[in-house]
């Protein structure tokens, strides 16, 4: 039987993004943002856009591959993929799907992309405006429980309760993102630092989330280009190789809004993924040099870091400090571009880009000598996903 691992078979050779905007402030339509991000990734790699033969996205991105391939003049379309479900939880999944297509010969040059123009299409953080609701929504919306922050808060409350975790742990995660954004000119929160007092005094959104525990909502687009490992050296940039990936969730994890019924409520749902991920990648948590972890809400990061084995839940209050989470010398530098909180909520695809830049030595908060780079997508939002990228030295 052939090797059923992605390890070392596919490389990220191009990354690109548009300018990142506060929500509603992009002047381009979403499709044009998408095209610009893809072209930026092509330029970064030194790839002619007509040679793209596959497209992968997630969270029901509105820009479909046939339309993109036609608009770009791609010579042929060989892979047209949407990660099903999970919203931002699909970011690493889309990368994994693209890598699987490349590794198995379905396509040779796949772009992973995500574009969002919330001014054009509406925001995620608003409740339904319909006159009636049915199904699972009818079990939550009439109680005023109707936004992602509200749906996920009880998961975090329960986890913090079970493990004696205080607000300082969530605060450290928020501060790390804002700290790193201050060296990243792309970041929407560049030049807008956050202090402990600023966090503590910020308003509650829904307990246990303060304003700064919640991601931004933004306009923009991002893209990455994946090719077979044997071609990786043909392009302009230092390749970042896929070492491993995992997608999914455990037993009976309900989609929102019925998440309240999930048996393992106090979870971000990586317990079953993490062992598979590390086994495929051939690395252990201690080998990971730098982590990007999707902050829909800081509490999801807390649980995801525990479930990826970086520390035990009962150690969270000691581990989660700003010093430990910041580049260049923290124990586990986290969200080194500023992440969803402070760089841009490009639905987490900016985290995949940052994971790649760390391996190239191009981060604005570089971890010296980073060789193993892990990126987590959409904790709590089933199906979740994670990818591990490595430098050539890790192969």
């Amino acid at each position: 039987m052939a090797d059923r691992s992605l390890r070392g078979r596919v490389a990220v050779v191009g990354v690109g993004e548009t300018r990142y905007f506060r929500h509603g402030q992009a002047t381009d339509p979403e499709f044009l943002l998408c095209l610009k991000a893809i072209l930026a990734a092509c330029a970064d790699a030194g790839i002619d856009p007509v040679d793209i033969d596959g497209f992968a996205s997630y969270s029901n991105d509105r820009n479909d591959p046939p339309t993109l391939a036609t608009a770009l003049g791609c010579k042929e379309l060989r892979f047209s993929n949407m990660q099903w479900g999970g919203g931002g939880g699909g970011g690493a999944g889309a990368m994994a799907n693209a890598a699987a297509a490349v590794a198995t010969g379905l396509a040779d040059c796949v772009v992973v992309y995500r574009a969002l123009a919330q001014g054009q299409f509406g925001r995620f953080g608003q409740g339904p405006q319909s006159r009636t609701v049915s199904g699972d929504l009818a079990l939550t919306v009439p109680y005023g429980q109707m936004s992602p922050a509200q749906w996920y808060a009880p998961k975090v409350t329960r986890f913090m309760h079970e493990h004696g975790i205080g607000q300082e742990a969530l605060r450290a995660i928020a501060l790390a993102s804002y700290h790193h954004a201050q060296s990243n000119p792309r970041a929407v929160m560049y030049g807008r630092p956050l202090t402990e007092a600023g966090y503590d005094e910020s308003r509650w959104i829904t307990e246990p989330f303060h304003l700064y525990d919640c991601c931004q909502e933004n306009d923009g687009a991002a893209a990455l280009i994946l090719v077979p490992a044997e071609r990786a050296r043909d392009f302009r940039q230092t390749p970042a190789y896929v070492l491993g990936a995992a997608i999914g969730a455990g037993y009976r994890v309900h989609s929102t809004p019925a998440g309240f019924a999930t048996p393992d409520l106090a979870s971000s749902h990586f317990q079953t993924l993490a062992p598979r991920l590390y086994e495929m990648a051939g690395v252990a948590p201690a080998d990971v040099d730098v982590v990007q972890c999707y902050e829909n809400f800081t509490g999801g990061v807390l649980m995801a870091l525990v479930e990826h084995g970086f520390f035990a839940a009962d150690e969270a209050m000691d581990f989660l400090t700003l010093d430990n989470l910041t580049a260049p010398s923290g124990r586990l530098p986290l969200n080194t571009s500023g992440g969803n909180l402070a760089e841009c909520y490009m639905h987490g695809l900016e985290l995949q880009i940052e994971a790649t830049r760390q391996l190239r030595g191009q981060s604005t908060a570089q971890v010296p000598g980073a060789e193993v780079s892990l990126a987590v997508a959409g904790p709590m939002v089933t199906p979740v996903s994670t990818i591990i990228l490595g430098s050539e030295a890790t192969l």
Binding site: G127, S134, V141, P142, G144, Q150, P154, R158, R203, A261
Partner: protein, 146 residues
């Protein structure tokens, strides 16, 4: 008619056109709490589904369960995300676990002072909140500490 916990103007819950959850909503109108139970194994399940998750059978009973629970988790909402909730914050949402119904969980508001402490593990009972003026009228299961 009971005083509603949240102001009017939120979307009205109605059963799906296919009627999957209709017995639940009718039960609330009648002042009883009903969930699904697998008649072959006695396993409760919630929210409603077409199939039993434990043996994949399509026949499921709707059974009345004790309107008693314990607070499994909660959140207190301070930021309104719907026009009807402007001025209604804070309000409390609890996840109530029903020990007498296989520990299925339901969502609801915790009645009383919206700034009260919310102890995980505290016992609660269902309160049937009737919305007679809605189109169509409906009833919500709310929770209060006992």
């Amino acid at each position: 008619m009971t005083q509603a916990y949240l102001p009017p103007g939120l979307p009205t819950p109605v059963p799906e056109r296919n009627g999957l959850s209709a017995p639940y909503w009718q039960g609330l109108r009648d002042g009883v709490l009903k969930v699904q139970r697998n008649p072959r194994t006695g396993v409760f399940q919630w929210p409603p589904q077409w199939i039993a998750h434990d043996d994949q059978g399509f026949e499921l009973d709707w059974v009345e369960v004790a309107p008693r629970g314990v607070i499994y988790s909660w959140t207190r909402v301070w930021h309104p995300v719907h026009p009807a909730l402007q001025g209604a914050c804070p309000y409390i949402v609890v996840v109530a676990e029903l020990p007498q119904a296989g520990n299925v969980r339901m969502l609801g508001n915790l009645l009383g002072d919206p700034r009260q402490d919310v102890p995980i593990g505290a016992e609660v009972e269902a309160v049937f909140e009737h919305h007679e003026d809605a189109q169509p009228p409906y009833t919500l299961a709310q929770w209060r500490r006992v």
